[in-house]
Structure formats: C-alpha cells, structure tokens
C-alpha cells in the first residue's frame, strides 16, 4: 500500500512541472479518438470519449473498474467496433462511419493483463509469432537472432527462448508478452493493466523496465490501469475515466494538483475536503485563509487540499488537536480536529455539520512521536487549494 503512494511519487515531481508538454495538438497527434460511444446491449459503456495522443507520448487511462477503460483500449486495438464516433491512427480513420481497419492491419502492439502467451508455443515461438521469416534478413536464422535481441531488450536471458510460458514467473511472462508485441516494431503500444497481476515490488520494477524499453524505442504508449500511482508515475498524459467518459485529461502534475472535480481528486489520491467561504481568490475555512487559483464560484465552496500540503510547524497559524494516528513506518497519518471556523459564526456555513467541534482532517508526518492523541499541534498550509462548487456530491 505505502510503496505505491501517489502523493509521494507526485511530490518528487514537484520541482519540475511539465505542463507545457501536456496537451497534444492535432498536428503531431498519433491517435485521435473522436466522440466514441459503445453500448453492450442496453448498457452504455462509453458515452462520448475524445482523446488525442501525441506521437511518442505516454498516456495512462486511469479509472475505477467498470469505467470503460478496457473497452476503450479494445476499440483502439480493433477488437471491438465503436457504435458512433471515430478513431484515427496517423491521420487515417481506422474505425467509424464507413471506415474499418481490422486489428491485424492496424500495426498496433497489445499486451493483455495476463500476457496472453500462447500456451502451445515456446517463448521463442511466441516472440516470433508475428514475424515473417521471409521479410527478415537471414530467414530462420534471422528470426532466431531477432528473438534473442528482443529477449535482451526486455532483460531476459536468451536461453529462455526454449522455455514454455507456464515455466515462467508472472513478471517474466509479461516481459515476453512485451517482447512479442515489440517484435513487429509497432508505433503504438497498448498495455491493458499489464502490471496488475504482479506483486508490488515486481510491479514497480517491471513497470520501470517496460517504460524504459518503450521510451528507448520511441513507441507511443497507452496504458490502461486502475492504479492511480502507476498512471501518475508512468505517463506524461493522464486521462481520468469515470462512468464511460473522460473526466479530465492532462499532465500528471496538473491532474493531481488541480483535479477538475471532487471525484477525480479523490480517485487520484488522498484529499482533504473542507467547507469554505470564497471571497475573491481567497477561501476561508477551518485552516484559515487559503489562496485558490481560478475559483469556480463565490460564497460557499468545497476546498480540496492534498494532505502533504498541510505541514506541522511550530509557528504555524492554525491549531489542531490530534484525534488518533496510524503508523506506517516511514510516515504516520495523523487525524486532527480543527477549531470551528470563524465563518461559521457569521452563519455562512450551517453549524450542524460540526456537532462535536471543528472538522477532522488527515495529514501525514514522518515523526510518529510528536503526535500523541490529545496533543495540540500547529499547522501551516503550503501552496494553493482547489475549490469545487458546493452542490457536488462526493463520489460513491
């Protein structure tokens, strides 16, 4: 759990925001998805999806299960037809009105969740499955060399070519599946939760290795995942999918720090949500006055902060009382009760929300010993908050 913590990985990115590179323009776009819908029977799985992926870029489609992200990937691969809308690769329409290019002619690499290695073939035969010996220099010998080369590319021993898929570990199977997909040198690689079956340590290592291989090969990559940390660390463009639509598309730093709505905020990582009163660009809440960039409304709003934005500081302006703590080793989550905000007294926010005192928030700290229940701590808020209109309901 803790080693895939989104906030820490995102925090490490803080010094180098890459906002400018985020949104692909249509001129250098590799993949263009335009208003795609897909129903299975009466169930609408995709309700109008638009997505543009830049050449050589890495895009993660992230969303909870059942949000339609795997279906979107299968549409790109050509395993399903869209009901309406169109999909273009390199400016050529491959699916849509009067257009259809079948999967085998799209030249798109695809790695399934479990690798989908052919059980009746050896590792080498799996990798060379898509290769045409007639088109390789050296014929059959060329195939053998290419297989060894690909195995090396995914950091596997060339001796593995003779093994059977069931003799490999899960991580090795995934690497073979990647080598098999890379064999035909596709320009676009689709990864359908390829790391989710691996255990945590292997997952991070395999993800890194795969990402590096694809980056070196200059392959445009689309990763589907339900793991927000994986999406944020792997991709340079994150598309958040929810209920058959893309809720937000952008640079990982942007979607994490400035989510478009509360559900996205909570899906991408831990969020502190507070009632607040917006005046100009300053929100007043239990943590005092906090600047907000582009406030959506004035008056009552909901304020979102990431836990790592709230620091314990001896001269901090806000007091909070420790309710309880949860120790994780490198860090401790601390639940704090805040004082009743002054805006309450002004009647701006109904006070029935705080029956036992002020709001309770959760923050993180590295030092477990300073936070005993009942201790009063002083807090300081770093950076800007994000405000959402108050009528928004939290996601289920």
């Amino acid at each position: 759990m803790t080693d895939t913590h989104p906030s820490r990985e995102a925090r490490s990115r803080l010094p180098e925001p890459r906002i400018a590179a985020s949104v692909a323009t249509s001129t250098n776009s590799h993949l263009e998805i335009d208003a795609v819908t897909k129903n299975f029977g009466s169930q609408a799985v995709l309700k109008g999806v638009n997505l543009s992926v830049a050449r050589g870029g890495t895009t993660a489609i992230v969303g909870p299960s059942g949000s339609g992200k795997t279906t979107l990937l299968r549409l790109i691969a050509g395993f399903e037809h869209p009901d309406t809308g169109s999909i273009s690769l390199n400016g050529t329409k491959v699916a849509g009105e009067n257009a259809w290019v079948p999967a085998h002619k799209r030249h798109v690499g695809y790695v399934a969740q479990d690798g989908a290695l052919f059980p009746h073939l050896t590792v080498g035969q799996n990798i060379s499955f898509g290769l045409d010996p007639a088109k390789l220099p050296g014929g059959r010998r060329g195939v053998k060399e290419r297989v060894a080369e690909l195995l090396d590319m995914v950091s596997l021993d060339p001796g593995m070519a003779k093994r059977r898929p069931h003799q490999l570990s899960g991580g090795q199977q995934q690497r073979v599946a990647l080598a098999r997909a890379l064999a035909r040198e596709p320009e676009l690689m689709l990864l359908d939760e390829p790391f989710s079956a691996l255990d945590a340590g292997l997952r991070v290592a395999t993800r890194r290795a795969v990402g590096q291989v694809l980056k070196d090969a200059g392959v445009t990559t689309i990763l589907v995942t339900h793991d927000q940390a994986e999406a944020l660390s792997f991709a340079d463009q994150v598309a958040v999918m929810r209920g058959g639509k893309l809720a937000q598309i952008g640079n990982p730093f942007v979607v994490y720090t400035r989510p478009a709505d509360r559900a996205t905020a909570e899906f991408l990582g831990d969020a502190v949500i507070l009632d607040a009163w917006m005046e100009g660009s300053l929100a007043t809440c239990s943590l005092g006055g906090i600047p907000v960039r582009r406030p959506p409304a004035q008056g009552r709003v909901q304020l979102m902060l990431r836990p790592e934005q709230i620091r314990i500081s001896e001269d901090g302006p806000i007091r909070g009382t420790v309710v309880d703590t949860d120790y994780f080793g490198p860090e401790t989550t601390v639940r704090l009760q805040l004082p009743v905000p002054p805006v309450l007294a002004a009647g701006a926010i109904p006070d029935h929300r705080y029956p036992g005192g002020g709001e309770i928030i959760t923050i993180r700290h590295w030092n477990a010993s300073i936070a005993r229940p009942g201790t009063e701590l002083r807090l300081r808020v770093v950076g800007e908050a994000v405000a959402f209109p108050v009528d928004e309901q939290p996601s289920p």
Partner: protein
C-alpha cells in the same frame, strides 16, 4: 481522506469488461461468424428430424388411439423398469466414478498411474458384450438387478473420466483454503471439491442415463424389458406399427426430462483459466490404513467390469478353436466397421465445430437454443433415430433408404454431443484473448483462429472424434435398423451370432471390438487429461 482500498482489484475489472464484450450485441458481426451461424442453424434443423418424426407420428395417431396405446399396464411395467434402472444405476455410477477419480487424483493410492487407466478400461467393452460375458458366467441372470449390475459396470467410466480430468485440473489452492478455514479432508471434499465437479457429474450422469434409456443389446440379452427393447420387438414384428411409435414417444419424453435436469444444472460459468504462472501441484491425502481396502475395492471393481468380460470372451475363443476365425466372414465386418467409424467420426467433428464455437465464444440465447436442439437430438436413442430415418427416407427420399450416407447421418446425430462436449471444453481452454493477441500481431482473424484456437482445440477435438469412433464401433441398435443390405459390422455380426446362441462364434467379434476400442479408450483418457491442462 478517501480510502484507496475502495478501488476494486484488477481481475474483476478485466472479467467484467470481457464478459460484457462477449455478450454484447454487435451492430456489424464479422462475416465468419454469420457463416458459422448459418451452418449451425442448418445442422440444428437437420438434427431435429428424429424429434419431429416422433411428434408428427404421435399427432397423426390421434389423441384417443395414443392414450389407449400409452395408458396400459404394459407401458406402466416398462416405465417402472426403466425408471428403477435409471434411479439406481446413475447414483451408483456417480459414486464409483467420482470415488475412483478421487482415489486416483487426490490420494496416495499405490499404483495410481495404472489404476487411472484401468478405471477407464471398461469403456472399451460394449455393454452388450459385457452382458454376453455375464450371461456366460451366470446363465441364470435376468431382471432389474442384473440390468443394474451390467449397466453400472459398463457405464461408470462415463463419470470417472470427466471427474478425473476435472480433479487433475482443479487448483489445489481451493482445497488448501478450505483446510485453512477449518474443514477436514472429508468436509473439504464435500463442500469445495464436489461442487467443482458439478459439470463433470451432471454431464457424466446424463450420459449414463441416456445410455440406459437407449441400450438395446445388453438388456435384450438378459431378458430385461425397457422401452428400447420393447420398441425393437414391435419393430421386428410390425415394422412401423403405431404401438411401437407410441412407446418411442414415451421414451423420447423421458429423454427430454433428463435433458431438462442437465440444462438446469449446467450453469454458465466461464471455465477458461485466466491466471498466470505455474499451477501448484496437488496435495495428496495419505491413505494410511485405508490403502488396503482402497486397493481391494478397485481390484473388485475393475475385475468385475473388465476382467470378467475379457476372461469369458477369451474362454469362448479357446473353446471355439480355429474354426471360428473364418477370415471371409469377419474381415468385411472389420473393414466396414473401421470405414464407418472413421468416416462418421470426421464428419461429426466437423459438424460439431460451428455449434461449439458459437456456444463458447458468442454465448447468447441463439447459440443456447442451437445447442439445446442438438442436445435434444443427441438424447434420442438409437432406436428412435433409426425408426425416424427409416420412415422419413422411405416416404420422402426412397433413394436414400438403406444407403451408407443415411447410416452415417444417423451416426452423426447420435454422437454429435460427444464431439460437442469435447470441442466445447477445448475451446474454453483457448481464451479468445489469445486470438486477439494473434490478431494484434498481424495475423488475419482466420489465420489467428487456425494457428491459435484450432491448434489449442485440436487435442480435445481429436479426443471427441475418438469417442465418436468408439461409439460407432460399439453401436448396435441404429445399425441394425439402417445398415444397407449386405453390410455387416462387428456389432451386428456379433449380435446375429449370439442371438443364435452361437456364443463361441460371436467371441471373435467381441474380441475385435474390444481390441479396437482399447487404444481409443486409452487415447480418450490421455486427451481428457491434456484438455484439462496436464
């Protein structure tokens, strides 16, 4: 603070997405699928000929005549015989089949590799040969309990083989989980393992029951009357009498009831293994003091089911001396049996494929009804298929009457489910994700299908074809009704000789049937393991 644990795991996600994809309505089905669908519909329509025959004949008879022919003591007696036979024999076969499979696959039984094969071996002996041997051993045999004895010994491998295949594939982790939840070996078996065997048991049980309803030779030999033997007697005396047709309609009704039971309990789970990594080896339950009783029971069972018939066939052969080996008599029978067996096995496998493909890859009400129509047909006893084909060909296509094509068509209808069940399980071991992976690697759908799905299904299809062949070599009833003039098969020659009480003369045919069936049975046994992933 939100709870990240609320995000469900990846496996559920993938499964949900793919199953909805499979079930989904497609605005533009690929050309291949519609061709497959049309073929499947044609096969299904053709396969409904026997059922249509029974319905038309019953309707033509008129209500009053039908009632007077059905509601009479003779039918009641046949019904009682048939029902008693079924309700006693099927549970016995389930106990012997599952018990044997469990001993072989899940315990430290000594010599389990040999036992695994020996328990499948009785399938190589046709039930009517078994009956012949038992009558030779105990001439006074007759009636219900003799029928139960012979049928149980002949048919329990029909449960044993699928049960053993399922047990060998079963992930031992689920038994270990049950143990960790405090279940002892016995309770774990009943609460965790047995439910996993549901498909094997309902399928095997249905096969046994249908065999019981359809078997003619074995019961005729011990003078035990069932619907099938009574219909045959009627047919031989009046050719196409109304009384015989009415008996057939009751028989068909019984078969349909059995089907209903099986269809309801089959379920619709997906059986392809999606997980990755090598499967753990099964833990075996130490038998300790039970080793000796287990060995003794298996010796008794295989001795009675396999040893005794083989012994008596050999005794007749020794008693008969060299004069029973007249090559000009048995060579034609042997060659014709092989030709019919191979031809019909190939045709049946080809015919079963579209149906199995639709059932596994595009499950819908459409594919289910197609498959159901085939199961209905396949439940039709040989005697009903034979009667239907005789009547329909005489009335509508006289040139077809008594041709090999008609006999092969009857074989296809009779043995389609054997091929279907095998190809179905083979296909479900080849998840469609593999086909898609091949397409993503640049293979056109047809080539991807040939190189991946067909290749992975081939062992199961071969197993199905072997089963069909086995069935044809041992088929007696429909062959008696439909074989062209001058055609003799091993089964019909055996039958005519033993009907004339020339037991020694019948023995070479019995031995040949066993010898042909034995390697097929062994192959079938091996394939069932391979299909199950070993």
């Amino acid at each position: 603070m939100t709870n990240k644990l609320a995000v469900p795991g990846p496996s559920g996600d993938l499964k949900t997405d793919t199953t909805t994809a499979g079930r989904g309505k497609r605005p533009r089905p690929p050309l291949g699928v519609s061709v497959v669908s049309i073929m499947a519909v044609l096969i299904a329509l053709f396969s409904l000929v026997p059922l249509a025959y029974v319905i038309v004949m019953t309707a033509a008879t008129g209500w009053d005549t039908a009632v007077s022919l059905i509601v009479r003591p003779r039918v009641g007696e046949l019904l009682l015989n048939t029902v008693l036979l079924t309700v006693v024999t099927v549970p016995l076969c389930l106990v012997l089949g599952v018990g044997g499979a469990w001993l072989v696959e899940r315990t430290t039984l000594v010599g389990r590799k040999w036992w695994a094969v020996l328990l499948a071996a009785p399938l190589a002996i046709p039930a009517f040969v078994n009956s012949y041997a038992w009558v030779s051993a105990v001439p006074s045999l007759g009636g219900l309990w003799s029928g139960v004895l012979i049928a149980t010994l002949s048919y329990f491998p029909l449960v044993y083989i699928p049960a053993a295949a399922t047990l060998s594939r079963l992930d031992p982790a689920i038994e270990q989980s049950a143990a960790s939840l405090g279940l002892g070996a016995w309770r774990a078996f009943f609460r965790v393992v047995l439910p996993q065997l549901r498909v094997a048991m309902t399928g095997g049980g249905l096969l046994v029951a249908l065999h019981l309803l359809a078997e003619y030779g074995a019961f005729a030999m011990i003078r035990f009357d069932t619907f099938t033997t009574a219909i045959m007697v009627q047919y031989q005396s009046t050719f196409n009498g109304t009384a015989g047709n009415m008996l057939a309609s009751v028989l068909v009704f019984l078969c349909l009831i059995l089907l209903l039971v099986e269809v309801r309990s089959r379920g619709s789970a997906r059986y392809a293994r999606i997980g990755s990594g090598a499967q753990a080896r099964a833990l075996r339950l130490p038998l300790h003091a039970y080793q000796v009783p287990a060995q003794l029971s298996l010796i008794a069972l295989t001795g009675l089911a396999f040893g005794l018939p083989l012994t008596f066939v050999l005794r007749w052969i020794i008693a008969g001396g060299p004069e029973i080996w007249a090559a000009e008599e048995f060579m034609p029978a042997l060659l014709q049996t092989l030709a019919y067996g191979l031809g019909a096995a190939v045709v049946t496998t080809l015919v079963a494929f579209p149906m199995a493909y639709l059932a596994v890859r595009r499950p819908s009400w459409f594919s289910k009804s197609l498959e159901l129509s085939n199961y209905i047909t396949s439940s039709m006893p040989g005697i009903v298929v034979g009667l239907a084909f005789v009547t329909v060909s005489i009335r509508m296509a006289p040139s077809m009457y008594q041709t090999s094509a008609l006999l092969i068509a009857a074989y296809v209808l009779l043995f389609l489910p054997r091929a279907l069940v095998n190809i179905r399980s083979g296909l479900s071991q080849a998840p469609k994700e593999l086909d898609e992976a091949a397409q993503a690697l640049g293979k056109p759908p047809l080539l991807a299908f040939l190189r991946v799905t067909l290749r992975l299904t081939a062992p199961a299809a071969a197993g199905g074809a072997a089963l069909v062949f086995l069935g044809i070599v041992n088929e007696l009833t429909a062959t008696l009704l439909l074989s062209p003039n001058g055609t003799s098969t091993l089964a019909t020659e055996f039958w005519s000789k033993s009907s004339e009480i020339d037991y020694a003369g019948a023995a070479p045919y019995a031995l040949l049937m066993i010898l042909i069936s034995a390697p097929m049975t062994y192959l079938l046994f091996q394939q069932s393991k391979k299909v199950a992933g070993q």
